[in-house]
């Protein structure tokens, strides 16, 4: 584990050091780089649910929305009351609160998922994401359908990438621990796993809660990066985006998923001049990918063709 820890510290130090020079970057480029950090957190956390544990969640954007709105509301209410020096503390607290509430939502989805698998689970998670969107759309305290404006810009490159490093470290360490082998066992064969004394229910719920927590953190970062939240930003398509990152990288392959998150964040920017064809290309990419390399772009030696 010391190796992983070293990577974690290296990642955070690098993020902080680069962050010092972030004023040198072009604003547009800086924005995209922060997007990459946020998407890495989303993809790696979904990978714990969809990849390592072999569940199929289509509601990751819902968790992100819970975290984003909670964090944004907290900093909107609290930050005017406290001196600016405390700003990083407020931000950290807001992010953790957002993550915590998202984790609670994850528990809410995890429990019905105990009895469901495959397509049924996919539908329930999809439905859950939609329910969150509808609820937010009708909550006047967070701006309802017109969105939440004027969120302070707290997210920096350092924050985004330090937290991305923490997410990668946490998920990797969790899955590679003795306890975490159970996730892979559940993904490979639930019945066999439970006959070996592994409780699939506990693992599934743990995966959902942990994944949701980090999605909530990513939502908080996103809110303080874009400074504006709208319920339509967290629709079904956003969940699909994250799912595609996980598939492109290869289910259960952390490195691949990180690379895929980077590529798929850059892709729309590269295709900007063909913006009218962008989504057509994107959907074709999904189909072609599924036909040619369902195990992910960066997987060469996995023992079986993707998690079923």
């Amino acid at each position: 584990m010391t190796g992983a820890k070293r990577w974690l510290i290296a990642g955070i130090v690098l993020a902080v050091v680069v962050s010092i020079f972030s004023a040198q970057f072009n604003r547009y480029h800086l924005g995209i780089i922060i997007d990459i950090g946020i998407n890495i957190i989303l993809a790696v956390s979904l990978n714990l649910i969809n990849g390592h544990t072999g569940q199929f969640s289509l509601g990751h954007a819902g968790f992100m929305a819970v975290g984003g709105y909670t964090a944004a509301k907290i900093s909107l209410v609290v930050s005017p009351m406290l001196p600016p020096a405390l700003q990083p503390m407020i931000f950290l607290f807001a992010l953790l609160a957002g993550g915590g509430l998202a984790a609670l939502a994850g528990l809410g989805v995890g429990i019905p998922s105990l009895r469901l698998r495959g397509d049924y689970l996919a539908i329930v998670t999809l439905g859950f994401g939609e329910i969150i969107r509808v609820v937010v759309q009708n909550m006047d305290s967070v701006g309802a359908a017109s969105g939440l404006k004027g969120i302070p810009k707290y997210t920096t490159l350092g924050w985004a990438f330090s937290l991305a490093a923490v997410t990668i470290y946490f998920v990797t360490a969790l899955v590679n621990s003795t306890y975490g082998r159970g996730f892979i066992a559940v993904s490979d064969d639930e019945v066999a796993a439970s006959s070996m004394g592994i409780n699939p229910v506990r693992y599934k719920v743990t995966a959902f809660v942990t994944g949701a927590f980090f999605a909530g953190i990513a939502g908080g970062l996103y809110a303080h990066h874009k400074q504006f939240l709208s319920p339509t930003g967290f629709d079904f398509l956003k969940s699909i985006d994250i799912v595609v990152m996980v598939i492109l990288g290869g289910m259960g392959r952390t490195t691949g998923v990180v690379v895929a998150a980077i590529l798929l964040t850059l892709l729309p920017e590269v295709l900007r001049q063909f913006s009218e064809y962008r989504m057509i290309i994107y959907s074709l990419l999904i189909i072609v990918l599924m036909m040619a390399r369902p195990q992910g772009l960066f997987t060469w030696n996995r023992k079986k063709g993707g998690a079923a």
Partner: protein
């Protein structure tokens, strides 16, 4: 009392459309065990087929008229059946032996592809187009109740098609083969059933139903656009799962139930904003207690 009856009528009309769409989902699930996300977009294509056919048919059989509408519906259903079969051959057939999740994600890809292609200005464009009036419209007043002729058409058409589907699946050779394939694909193949033909037939039938549902939906909607299939598709899909996916009467029951619940919830002022969420909330509640849906059989995994 009048309010209740009125909501009941509206709910039945809405639920009938959901039931028609849900049938397509459930039939495909029956033979291939995956949710065909592109089904909702075939519905949209059906409405667009009718939109483009209407002026041509109008010159021979002036609209609004029953004959003209029947011709339009038949032609649209045939076009959509062809599209459905084509989608299966191009996108799903190469993946027949792959894990179901791969196929599910491909289906999402196909759905997005159709939606975004149709939104492109060279195809249909993203704007809403007014749907032509196909049938003469008349409101029947029964005491305090108002029954639109379109609502009646929707309910009657659905009942006829449900009956027809039941006949095809239960009483014809093709239907028997469909049931055999859904029961055990390998055994069916060993009995001399051409699996590919049955699957194509199922897709064609489901897509034709989607086309009819799309036209019925468009009759009641203010206009058509490339994303018009998404919301009814999602509901129908919930309806299919609600009734027990793979189960034909279940899909019809789920569709009607969902249509009624949604209309009643929409009629209550505090709840109407949450309409989109209510369908899913009901689904989750029911799956908590009956994971295989209302009429679905719980399967036991053998080790």
């Amino acid at each position: 009392m009048d309010w209740l009856l009125q909501q009941l009528i509206n709910g039945l009309a809405l639920g009938s459309i959901y039931a028609l769409i849900a049938l397509g989902y459930t039939m495909v699930y029956g033979v291939l065990r995956f949710i065909n996300f592109a089904h909702a977009d075939v519905l949209m294509l059906g409405a667009y087929a009718a939109y483009f056919l209407a002026p041509a048919v109008n010159s021979i059989f002036p609209l609004p008229s029953l004959t003209g509408t029947l011709i339009i519906v038949l032609l649209s259903a045939m076009i959509c059946a062809a599209i459905g079969i084509l989608i299966e051959i191009l996108a799903y057939r190469p993946l027949r032996q792959r894990p179901r999740l791969t196929v599910l994600i491909t289906a999402i890809g196909v759905s997005l592809f159709i939606e975004f292609t149709c939104q492109h200005k060279a195809v249909f464009g993203a704007d809403t187009k007014p749907f032509p009036q196909l049938l003469p419209e008349h409101d029947f007043h029964l005491g305090g109740l108002v029954i639109g002729s379109n609502d009646l058409v929707v309910v009657v058409t659905t009942l006829l098609l449900l009956g027809g589907m039941w006949f095809i699946v239960q009483r014809t050779k093709m239907g028997t083969a469909m049931r055999a394939v859904s029961f055990n694909q390998q055994a069916a193949a060993l009995m001399g059933i051409n699996i590919n033909r049955i699957i194509s037939f199922t897709f064609g039938l489901g897509s034709a139903l989607a086309a009819v549902a799309g036209i019925l939906y468009a009759l009641k909607a203010p206009g058509i656009d490339p994303l018009m299939g998404v919301q009814p598709g999602l509901r129908a899909f919930i309806a299919a799962v609600l009734g027990g996916i793979g189960n034909l009467p279940g899909a019809a029951l789920g569709g009607l139930l969902l249509g009624l619940l949604e209309t009643f919830a929409g009629g209550i002022s505090g709840l109407s904003n949450y309409r989109d969420g209510i369908a899913f909330a009901i689904l989750i509640l029911i799956l908590l207690f009956k994971p295989a849906g209302l009429l679905g059989k719980a399967t036991i995994e053998k080790v």
